[in-house]
Structure formats: structure tokens, C-alpha cells
């Protein structure tokens, strides 16, 4: 008998695509072709290229992560309904019931904020009570919050064009918008690891950062009234914004995730020494797993942060007259990069791991936080778009 009977079936990458995957591919092809054609007058060659690249990336991401497909389809559905409901009249955001209470960008973002906070509470409750059902509710809330937030951003994009064609721009242009992006990306990264490693015990910690971001967002909205759509300053009016900013926030999100995993690592490590039989020790994931996810998050963040900084340099070469100006934001990006480069070197070549690396990841988070917010608050420079 020549047949191979082991459980692992030999299938190629293409063979392992499901029917859902094919539908996904077709939908993305159709959607992006429609957009490329319908809005060709508004896009230059670079923007068309970004569209194609984004579609391809979404195809691959969706193939690797089934839940993402469903999320994005729901978000697309919501957004299309909202766009349809708006028509060409921005004023309908105040009159149409579904827009006013659900899908107008600011309403959707309020839903996102509320759902993320609820998710945080549920994750915490799940950790304390150790009940699976509560954990499932927490995950569902996180997914819902992410869906609402993404819808909010997409609808906001449309709203900006409804204000006026020359005001329209992708909503990643100021601190309010990128905070939403930060929450979404951090949540998606977390959800990915939650599914991959089948553990919900990290949620309470990671969602804490997201809730903090939401808190800032609410303060920024209600105290500073910074939630309105503002026209772009000339320097930001470039296709580079569409790639530089999201790449950067994958970096920021991943670094934050790593820091919170670092916190869990430190807790678990203490608990293991002090009270090996205690609930903390038994309910938190293995140290080896934590160590691994922390490394993966930092590696991912580092790769995207490198990419983002380089994209920023290319943009600077077009907008500011030089690829590097030692502007405070650039310099702090370099500091963040150097910090994680050192972290990775220590881990990969010196074999450092465990507690010191967890602490370092946490310190790295504060360095990143300063690069993200502190520079805007305390230092001035060319990059002062998100002033507090």
C-alpha cells in the first residue's frame, strides 16, 4: 500500500482555500474595481496603486484569518447602509434615525467607545470568575466594538467628502482620528492572538490600554471639541498619509500589546514564586507562551514601525525638502526604533528572556507613548499635526 494515511493531508496553499475564501476574493476584486472606476477622477496613479495593494493585502489577510472576513463584511454592510442613507446630504446625519443613533461617524465611535469599555469589564470579570461564558461575551463585545469603530472611520471618510470634495480625506489626519485607529488596530492584533492561542486571559490587560485610549478620546471630544472634520493643511494633502499613518499605528498597537503582555508576564512570574497554587498563576497563560507572544508582537511592531518610519522619510523628502530633518517626531521615532532594535538584539543574539525583557517591553511602551503623544505636547516641530 502506497497510500499515506496520516492525519495531515497534503494540500497546497491554493487547495486549502474554502468557498468562503473564493467569495471573499471575488467580492474584493469587484469592490476595488468599482471604486477604482467610480472614483478614478479623484485618485492619482499612486492612490490607485495603494487601492490595488490594499485589496490584495485584504485578500491574503482574510484567507489567513476567517473571522476577519466576517468582520469586514459586516463593516462593509454597515458602511454601505450609512452611505446610502446619507445620499448627498450631510444634514441627514441629524435627522435620519439610523444615522443619528448608530452609523453617523460620531455615533458609531461612541458605540465603539462604550463597547470597548464594556468588553474590558467583561474580560476582567471573566478573569476573576473564571467562567467561559463571560469570556465569550467579552470577545463578542470586542468584535462588535471593532466593527462599530471601523464603520465609524469609513463613514467619516464619506462624510468628509459630503462636506465638500476638496475637504474630503482619509480619516487619519488628526489626533482624534488616529486614536480611533490605534484602538482598532490594537484590538484586532489582540483578537488575532486570542484566537490563535485560544486564551482570553490577556484581554483584561490589553483592553485596559484600549479603554485608556477611549478615555482620552472622550475627553478630547467633550472637553476639547476636537471631533469635527477639519480640512487638511497643505503638507498633509498627499497619498503618503494613507500608508504612513496606518503602518505607524500597527507599530504603536503592537508595542502596546507587547507591553501589556509584559505586565501579565511579570504578574504571572511573581505569582509563580509567591503563590504557585493561587488563582493568578493558574488562570494566566504559560510563561513560555507569554514570552513568545511578547516577542511576536514586538517583532511585528518593529517590522511595521521600520516600514512606517521609512515611508515617513520618503514623504518628508517630498514635503519638507529632505528625508531626515532631525525633527522631534522623527528623532523620537528613531529612539523608539533603537530601543526595540536593542530589545530584539538582546533576545535573539544574547538569548535574554523572561522578567527583564518583560520590564523592558513595558518601558518601551512609555518611550513609544512619548513619541506618540509626548512629542505633540512638549516639543514643537514640523510634525505638529496632532497638537493637544
Amino acid at each position: 500500500m502506497k497510500s499515506l494515511e496520516y492525519s495531515y493531508q497534503p494540500v497546497s496553499y491554493w487547495q486549502s482555500r474554502t468557498a468562503y475564501d473564493s467569495v471573499w476574493l471575488l467580492l474584493l476584486l469587484a469592490g476595488s474595481s468599482y471604486v477604482a472606476f467610480e472614483y478614478r477622477a479623484l485618485m492619482d496613479g499612486y492612490e490607485q496603486a495603494i487601492l490595488v495593494f490594499t485589496a490584495l493585502m485584504l485578500v491574503v489577510l482574510g484567507w489567513h484569518w476567517h473571522a476577519l472576513k466576517t468582520l469586514l463584511l459586516v463593516v462593509t454592510g454597515f458602511s454601505l447602509l450609512a452611505v446610502n442613507s446619507y445620499g448627498t446630504d450631510l444634514g441627514r446625519g441629524e435627522t435620519a434615525f439610523l444615522l443619528k443613533y448608530l452609523w453617523a461617524s460620531q455615533s458609531a465611535i461612541m458605540w465603539m467607545s462604550a463597547l470597548y469599555v464594556m468588553a474590558t469589564v467583561c474580560y476582567l470579570a471573566a478573569l476573576l470568575s473564571n467562567r467561559l461564558f463571560v469570556g465569550k461575551v467579552a470577545s463578542a463585545l470586542t468584535w462588535s466594538a471593532t466593527a462599530m469603530g471601523l464603520t465609524g472611520l469609513l463613514v467619516r471618510w464619506r462624510e468628509s467628502y459630503l462636506m465638500s470634495a476638496d475637504i474630503g480625506h482619509i480619516p487619519v489626519s488628526n489626533l482624534y482620528e488616529v486614536f480611533i485607529l490605534f484602538a482598532l488596530i490594537t484590538a484586532l492584533l489582540y483578537l488575532h492572538y486570542e484566537q490563535k492561542y485560544q486564551t482570553r486571559s490577556l484581554g483584561a490587560f490589553v483592553l485596559l490600554v484600549i479603554s485608556a485610549a477611549v478615555g482620552f478620546l472622550l475627553w478630547y471630544t467633550f472637553d476639547r471639541h476636537a471631533d469635527g472634520i477639519q480640512p487638511l493643511v497643505p503638507a498633509l494633502n498627499s497619498y503618503w498619509m494613507k500608508i504612513h499613518v496606518p503602518a505607524n499605528f500597527v507599530g504603536y498597537g503592537a508595542f502596546s500589546l507587547a507591553a501589556m503582555i509584559g505586565v501579565v508576564f511579570i504578574l504571572k512570574n511573581r505569582a509563580q514564586q509567591l503563590n504557585p497554587q493561587g488563582a493568578i498563576n493558574s488562570r494566566l497563560p504559560d510563561l513560555a507562551l507569554l514570552d513568545d507572544v511578547m516577542y511576536k508582537a514586538i517583532a511585528l511592531g518593529f517590522a511595521f514601525f521600520t516600514l512606517a518610519t521609512i515611508l515617513g522619510a520618503l514623504w518628508a523628502a517630498e514635503a519638507w525638502g529632505g528625508y531626515w530633518s532631525w525633527d522631534p517626531k522623527e528623532t523620537w521615532a528613531l529612539i523608539v526604533w533603537l530601543n526595540y532594535a536593542a530589545w530584539l538584539h538582546m533576545r535573539l543574539t544574547k538569548g535574554w528572556n523572561g522578567n527583564p525583557m518583560a520590564w523592558w517591553a513595558l518601558v518601551g511602551f512609555f518611550v513609544t507613548l512619548f513619541a506618540f503623544l509626548g512629542v505633540n505636547m512638549f516639543l514643537s516641530g514640523l510634525h505638529s499635526y496632532g497638537e493637544l
Binding site: 495531515y8 503638507a235 494633502n237 517630498e318 525638502g321 528625508y323 538584539h345
Partner: protein, 648 residues
């Protein structure tokens, strides 16, 4: 022995400890560079840190950290250290890439971090099945018989090893490119005495050759402001506490500069229509540049960087403030010096509109109209700086002309609010304020006031004269220093227990004098005041007295009112040449490629040592992973499980 010294040095340079130390050192230096604002004028630093620390920081070059020799030194060491590291590892990695480690013996396999002994039915095991399994896991393999046994040596993820080489080479390439575009050549030229920084404000034609860089300079970043209709074939490089002149091999002519606005008033785009005039061109090259859309020509890039005034012509009305006199007209040009009696008027800027956030706190913007900024320098060289708006500004429902003054550049402007009359002009206030300087008129007003007073006998000439003289003295004190001056005089001359009473009397007297003066102004305008004043006229009086009270702070013999302007704009261009980018950009691509390969295609090795025995095949499975051990744990366990499930 020299050879071992070299080897020790080499090992030190290539060591991870040095590399990490350098990374941290650069990070710390970078932090310093953001905490201490870079490349500001030296006097600002003296103000901020005091003369002692200024000198210390200057010695340490903390004001230009990123071009300081010590910083470039650290960067140089990083390049050296990385180079040594790559040089040492490259041969090993290349050898490793070719090597499947098929010569490993059983003992070597047992030393691997992952190994497991498996016993399978001999019939279940064939070379095809084993290699088929490895292929499914994307391993490439080689087979080597070893006395009676067979070794399958497999590996995957060699891109991860290339990733190491790419990313580290990239760092070297990027740093070298960056150094090419840095100002190291300028530093060397300066050090050799071939270059001197120009710190004086002099016309370009007078800048000495020692401060001039030829058009063959390969790498620079320079700025030039060109007015509409003008052209320039030079630019200025900011350097230390001065600048250098950079010659260009062509001329740039600015045909037009435009700012477009959004409906809300915020700027939407800045654009310049340029013409490049170069003898090498058959016809001049015309192109419009904008922010994010530079012009590239012959390796030079021309950017829209800023804008400003290109010498607008202003028509001014000069109101004397320290004497009674007629206003007169003055023609002045922005960025030029205009004599004004004993003073010099230096207008530094003119803005045709000022868009400022709405005072209501809503995210709305309002245009408060044109303004101009200038210095008035007296014969001794001392100057105050002023910022004056052309149109009156509404404050709490009333309209005021606004002019700001400061005596030090580092300070914010302090504003003087002058009430506008019903024709929205300065006429009425100026009449009032100038009458305050007119002794004859004041005396007349004072006499009238005394005459109308019931408490003074008309016959008592001496008392009348004393009272008039007193009123005139009060008026002159008020003009010199406002209410505080009068209060100070009281403090000097009146015993403490009577001060309050005296102050009240003085205030009443002054108020009466001012009111009568104001009524006189109204009469001159032809306004009848017998039936009392209108609400506007009353309010105007209050505001005018307040403005007169503060006038002495203004510190100028003139108030300059902008009547008309002819706006001429200038565009601020940045011209750069950075050949280093042709190293930096490919280096960046290499870096991204390297980083992604390193993290996502880690190298792994698997060995299968097959020893056929009677009935069973004894298999030794061994493995090795450079990183991502956690994932490899699973892959190895899966492999072992899959092997065990082989059935005959």
C-alpha cells in the same frame, strides 16, 4: 603581539555589547537633541540657560547635536561595528546557507535541542514518505547514506539568514548615505579654514567668497525668498549662528505665488509658478510647484517651503502722539528702512489678512484684516517693535483700533486699544489726545471750568490761577504716565492720612477737565451736547480716557495708521541637493526586506536518521531552530506525531 592586538580590537568592534552600547548612546543623544531646541539663534540660548551654561552647552555642541563631531563619531562607530559584525558573520552565514549538515553523526544529532527516537514498522517507512512529509512542511533536503544508516538532512527559511545580512548591510548603507548628505564636508572645510560663517545682515553681493559655496557643491539644503517677478541664482544655508551663501548653476524666476483657502479661511494650498533659466536649456523650463509637489531639475529639488512679503508698498498716516500736530502721509516699503524725523521705520512684515480662531471657542476662523509689523529705531539704535492692524476690531460690541508693542523680541506683544469713532476712524480719539498736549487749549478749558465753578469767586484771580495751574499740571502728569503717575505724585507730596481724600479730589478734577476737553472735541465735530451725550459718545469717552491712560506704555512718538497697500508676495523656496538619497532609499528597501525576512522566515533544520532493523525501522528525529522556538516546538511535535501515525 600586534596580530593579537588587532584581533582583540576586531572582536571588540564586532561585539554585541559595543553595538548595544552604541544604540543606547545614540538614543540618549537623540533625546538631548529634542529636549534642547536645535539650531536656534545664540542669543535665545543665552536668555534661556544663562551665560555660564550657554558656554558649557556650546562647547558640548548641544545646540547642533546631530552635526556635532561626537555624535557623528558615535554614528561612525556604529557603522564600523556593524561592518565588522557583517564581515565576521557573512562567511559563516554563506557557508551555513550551503550546508545541510548532512555529515552529522548520531552523537551530534543527540546533542540538538530537539530530538526524539521513534520505532515504526519497517513496511511503513519509505524514503518517499519521509521526504514527502518534509516537503509538505516546506523543507528542502539532502539524503546521505552513513554506514548502514541513512540520514535525511533538511532545512527551510534560509531567507531568514539573508534577512540578517540585508538588514545589517542596510544600516551601513543608510548611514553612509546620511553622512554624505550631512554637513560633515562643511565642518571639515570650516576646520581647515576654507569656510567662514557669515553672521552679519548684509546684501548677498557683499558676502565674501570665504562664506560662499560654489554651484559644484554636491550636497546642501538652502533657502531663498524670491518676490513675485524677481529671480535669484543663489540661496542661503543656515549654519550655526549665521549662514552661508550657496550659488546655483541656474536662475529661478518666480512668476506668481498663490494661496488658496478653504471656505472656512484655512489655507488649502501654497503654489508658486517658477521658471528655470539655464543657459543649458533651449527654452526656460516652466513649472508650478506646491507643497508635496517639488520640482526636480538636474539633481536639484526645489520645494515650496514658506511665503512672506516681497516688499509691499504701504501708505501710512502718521499721527503724532507726543505733541499737538497734523497727521501726515508716509510711503513705506516692507523690508526696507524709511526715515521718520529722528527715527527709522523698519517694516518687517505685512499680512493682507489674519485668520485667527474665533474668540467664541468654536472651531471657527475669522479674518481680522491686514496688519503690518515694524520697528521704530531711534538715533541711539534702541527700537521698540509694533504690530498694527489696519481695521478696527470688535471687542464686547465696541470697535477698537489695535496696535501691539514690545521692547524685547522674546516677549509677547502688549496691545493698545484705541476706540474707533462712528466713522470707524481714529479722528475723534486723536483730536482728543492731541488736545491733551495743547497747552493753550487746556488753559482755555481749565479757565472755563473755573469760571463755571460756584466755589471759586471770579474776583479771586490768584486762586483762579492756582487752580488752572493745578489742572494743567494734572493733565501733563496724566499724559506722561496716566493715573499711576498722579498716584505716585500724591504719595510723594501728601501725608498718608490725607491721601485718600486728595486722590478723590484729584480724580474728580481731572475727570472734569477731560470731560470738558472731550465736549470741546464733540463741539468741533458739530455735535450738540446741551441735551446730554448719546450712549455711544459716553462709552467712547470712557474708552478714550482708558486709552489715553495707557498711551505712555506705547513708547512711540507716532501712531502709524495703515491707509492703503499694494501687496507684493514672496515665495520661500528650499533648494536641496542630496545625492546620499540614492544610497539611503535602496538601503531602506533592503532594511524592510531584511527585517521581514528575519522575523517571518526563520531558519529551521530537521534531521531524520533511519536505521532499518528486522521488522522495525528505528528513526531518530532531530531539529534545530534559530528563533521562534515556541512555534518550532509545535512543528516538531506535529512532525513526530505524523511520523508515528505512519502505518504499513
Amino acid at each position: 603581539m600586534p596580530q593579537s592586538t588587532v584581533r582583540i580590537l576586531f572582536r571588540f568592534l564586532g561585539s554585541m555589547n559595543l553595538a548595544i552600547t552604541l544604540l543606547v548612546a545614540i538614543a540618549i543623544a537623540a533625546v538631548i537633541g529634542t529636549v534642547v531646541q536645535q539650531n536656534q539663534p545664540y542669543p535665545d540660548y543665552v536668555l534661556k540657560f544663562g551665560p555660564f551654561w550657554f558656554e558649557v552647552f556650546k562647547r558640548l555642541e548641544l545646540f547642533n547635536v546631530y552635526s556635532a563631531p561626537w555624535f557623528l563619531g558615535i554614528l561612525g562607530f556604529l557603522v564600523l561595528s556593524t561592518s565588522v559584525c557583517v564581515y565576521r558573520h557573512l562567511p559563516l552565514i554563506i557557508a551555513d546557507l550551503r550546508d545541510y549538515r548532512e555529515h552529522y553523526q548520531r552523537t551530534a544529532l543527540l546533542r540538538q535541542p530537539y530530538h526524539q527516537q521513534l520505532e515504526l514498522p519497517a513496511t511503513a517507512v519509505s524514503m518517499e514518505r519521509l521526504t514527502g512529509l518534509l516537503q509538505q512542511h516546506h523543507y528542502r533536503f539532502r539524503i546521505k547514506p552513513q554506514d548502514g544508516e541513512t540520514l535525511i538532512a533538511a532545512r527551510k527559511g534560509s531567507a531568514g539568514r539573508w534577512g540578517y545580512i540585508f538588514s545589517h548591510l542596510a544600516i551601513i548603507v543608510i548611514c553612509i548615505g546620511g553622512l554624505l548628505d550631512g554637513n560633515l564636508p562643511l565642518k571639515i572645510a570650516e576646520w581647515r579654514g576654507k569656510l567662514v560663517v557669515e553672521t552679519r545682515r548684509i546684501p548677498a553681493s557683499e558676502i565674501p567668497p570665504l562664506s560662499t559655496l560654489g554651484s559644484d557643491n554636491l550636497s546642501f539644503r538652502a533657502n531663498v525668498d524670491i518676490a513675485e517677478g524677481d529671480q535669484a541664482n543663489l540661496a542661503f544655508i543656515d549654519y550655526k549662528d549665521g549662514y552661508l551663501l550657496q550659488k546655483l548653476p541656474f536662475s529661478i524666476q518666480v512668476d506668481d505665488f498663490r494661496i488658496e483657502h478653504y471656505p472656512s479661511g484655512q489655507p488649502k494650498s501654497f503654489e508658486s509658478d517658477l521658471t528655470i533659466i539655464d543657459p543649458a536649456l533651449k527654452q526656460p523650463l516652466k513649472q508650478t510647484i506646491a507643497v508635496n509637489h517639488p520640482l526636480n531639475y538636474k539633481g536639484f529639488s526645489i520645494y515650496q517651503n514658506s511665503f512672506g512679503d516681497g516688499g509691499s508698498h504701504l501708505s501710512l498716516q502718521v499721527w503724532p502722539l507726543q505733541r499737538d500736530g497734523q497727521p501726515f502721509e508716509l510711503k513705506a516699503t516692507v523690508k526696507a528702512h524709511t526715515p521718520l524725523e529722528q527715527q527709522t521705520l523698519e517694516i518687517s512684515d505685512f499680512r493682507p489678512f489674519n485668520v485667527t480662531p474665533d474668540a467664541s471657542g468654536n472651531k471657527q476662523f475669522v479674518n481680522v484684516g491686514p496688519s503690518f509689523q515694524y520697528k521704530l529705531r531711534d538715533a541711539t539704535g534702541v527700537a521698540n517693535e509694533y504690530l498694527t492692524y489696519m481695521l478696527p476690531n470688535q471687542q464686547q460690541g465696541r470697535w477698537f483700533f489695535v496696535s501691539g508693542m514690545r521692547s524685547k523680541v522674546a516677549e509677547p506683544f502688549e496691545y493698545w486699544f484705541i476706540p474707533a469713532d462712528q466713522q470707524q476712524s481714529l479722528q475723534r480719539f486723536m483730536r482728543f489726545y492731541q488736545d491733551l498736549h495743547n497747552q493753550q487749549k487746556l488753559r482755555q478749558i481749565a479757565l472755563d471750568a473755573v469760571d463755571s465753578s460756584k466755589s471759586i469767586q471770579p474776583a479771586d484771580i490768584k486762586q483762579r490761577q492756582t487752580v488752572v495751574a493745578f489742572m494743567l499740571k494734572l493733565a501733563s502728569q496724566f499724559v506722561e504716565g496716566g493715573y499711576p503717575k498722579i498716584a505716585a505724585e500724591i504719595e510723594k507730596t501728601v501725608p498718608e492720612d490725607q491721601r485718600e481724600q486728595v486722590a478723590g479730589l484729584y480724580a474728580l478734577t481731572l475727570q472734569k477737565l477731560l470731560k470738558n476737553l472731550y465736549l470741546d472735541v464733540l463741539h468741533q465735530e458739530g455735535i450738540k451736547t446741551d441735551a446730554g451725550l448719546s450712549e455711544f459718545d459716553n462709552q467712547f469717552f470712557t474708552d478714550a480716557v482708558e486709552a489715553a491712560n495707557l498711551a505712555h506704555f506705547y513708547g512711540s512718538p507716532w501712531l502709524l495708521e495703515l491707509k492703503q497697500f499694494q501687496h507684493i508676495e514672496a515665495t520661500g523656496l528650499q533648494i536641496t541637493r542630496s545625492p546620499g538619497q540614492w544610497l539611503v532609499f535602496p538601503g531602506c528597501l533592503l532594511l524592510v526586506l531584511g527585517v521581514f525576512c528575519m522575523f517571518y522566515l526563520p531558519q529551521r533544520r530537521i534531521w531524520l536518521l533511519l536505521e532499518p532493523q528486522a521488522g522495525t525501522a528505528s528513526l531518530l528525529l532531530a531539529g534545530q531552530a534559530v528563533r521562534n522556538r515556541y512555534d518550532f516546538d509545535r512543528e516538531f511535535a506535529l512532525l513526530a506525531q505524523q511520523l508515528q501515525s505512519f502505518k504499513s
